[in-house]
Amino acid sequence: MIIVLEGSQRRKLHYYFERMFALRHKVFVKGRGWNLPTVNGEFEIDQYDVDDAVYFIDMDDSGAIQGTVRMTPTARHSLLADYFPHLIETGASPRSPLIYEATRYLVLPARKEESRVAKTRLILAVVEWCMSQKLTHLQAVVDTATLPTFIEMTPRTIPLGLSHPYGGGRRVPGGGECIAFRWPITLEVLEDVRAYGGFDEHLSGWAVHGQYGPEPAVVEAIH
């Protein structure tokens, strides 16, 4: 099940946030060696974990987190605008009240057959949410090596420029190449992603739960 939380709920629903920040630390700081701000040596939290950030958490039946992604408004700040503006070659503005940026996307390795479904389930929830908010696009900065997978999800993936080296480039450990892309938030893209994950037309990711955060009753049940 996918739950959708807002940054402003961090204190009230700290149970979820702590586990998500801890998992982010494990995957990005420990696992990938990214140089990210760490709180108490345990949680990965940065300047984009703001009140109006929106978090998608995919949890299995036992309540363990299988995947998570963060969506942030781009009207003022974003990874693309603040750190990677050179990735935009089209002259488009990285800022828009109708574009959210996806970051900290992680899906825990599942059994091979499930990996595609697990990855898609989270993204489907994000696209559905974007539609409900009447956004025009979602944008992301990703490692160029992962771009083929996003294009496979939907060929309507729009690159904002060519790829550029980061961290010293590909030949350097911890370095690589990255690229910025956008997905238009349309029915076609939604259908593409559904088809990619092999999802039934009527299955929706987050809409089943319909609102930010679980009801208190649900939280108790998981505990």
């Binding site: 935009i88 070659e89 089209t90 002259g91 488009a92 091979k112 990996s115 595609r116 990855k119 160029t144 090596a145 771009l147 083929p148 997978t149 294009i151 496979e152 060929p155 309507r156 729009i158 690159p159 420029g161 060519l162 790829s163 550029h164 590909r170 190449e177 690229i179």
Partner: protein
């Protein structure tokens, strides 16, 4: 929307946009080959590496290398020895033949394989490994006499390769599905369509095959239905597309 990048960026983003509107395999292939020519690439092989027990030929999505080159490659099983393929064991980032020559110690056979390409006028090539969630390893390999392999060119070609691979794959899957869905022509219908393609009238075909013109017309009408064509000229195009007849 003003463009802030250079020619490489602009061309590539235009190419990606154009590709998104195409669904026909031949049109897609033509568009890709044309774009690569701007960089000085005269040939392209795009394929998926065969899994255990599978044939390389089945995984080829586009190949316009000279027939002699391709034939020799298969006959001598170069796939098993090609240093450009072996490089994948060390490196999943794009690389050129020149990169391999300068960073790897090549044995005689490996050097030969690269050198033989120059006999056909290919002095350098670029290999873009493409891996998707579906798991298989694909390669996008343009080559040419003196291709542009500057850093920006490489970034451009990589993006061209990634989008091209996806477009080809989708179009081929669509074609396969269409093939599976449609009813193939009967041998008689095929024979008659071959004559139609050669420009013969129904009367002439009737004379050639000892049939009445009406019978010929009725076969052509059946073929048109199967090929989903309103006119016989389009039926010819479709018949060629589906490999029912050839020119």
């Amino acid at each position: 929307m003003s463009f802030t990048g250079d020619e490489y960026g602009k061309r590539t983003l235009d190419f990606v946009e154009r590709l998104q509107n195409l669904t026909d395999v031949s049109e897609i292939s033509r568009t890709i080959v044309q774009e690569l020519e701007w960089f000085g690439f005269t040939c392209l092989t795009a394929f998926t590496l065969p899994g255990p027990g599978a044939a390389l030929a089945d995984g080829i999505m586009l190949n316009n290398r000279p027939a002699e080159y391709t034939q020799r490659y298969f006959e001598r099983n170069y796939l098993a020895h090609d240093p450009a393929i072996k490089e994948l064991r060390h490196n999943l980032n794009p690389y050129t033949w020149s990169d391999i020559r300068s960073t790897r110690k090549l044995n005689k056979l490996e050097k030969n394989i690269l050198d033989e390409a120059t006999e056909f006028g290919f002095h350098d090539g670029f290999i873009i490994p493409i891996m998707t969630l579906s798991g298989s390893q694909s390669l996008f390999c343009p080559c040419g006499p003196e291709p542009d392999l500057t850093p920006r060119a490489r970034a451009a070609i990589e993006l061209i390769g990634i989008y091209s691979h996806n477009a080809l794959k989708r179009a081929l899957v669509r074609l396969q599905k269409e093939q599976a869905r449609r009813t193939p022509l009967t041998p008689r219908e095929r024979e008659i369509m071959q004559w139609v393609a050669a420009g013969k009238t129904d009367e002439e075909i009737g004379g050639i095959l000892s049939l009445s013109a009406t019978t010929v017309t009725s076969h052509v009408e059946n073929a048109k239905k199967k090929l989903d064509a309103f006119r016989r000229t389009y039926a010819v195009v479709q018949a060629i597309r589906y490999g029912e007849i050839s020119l």
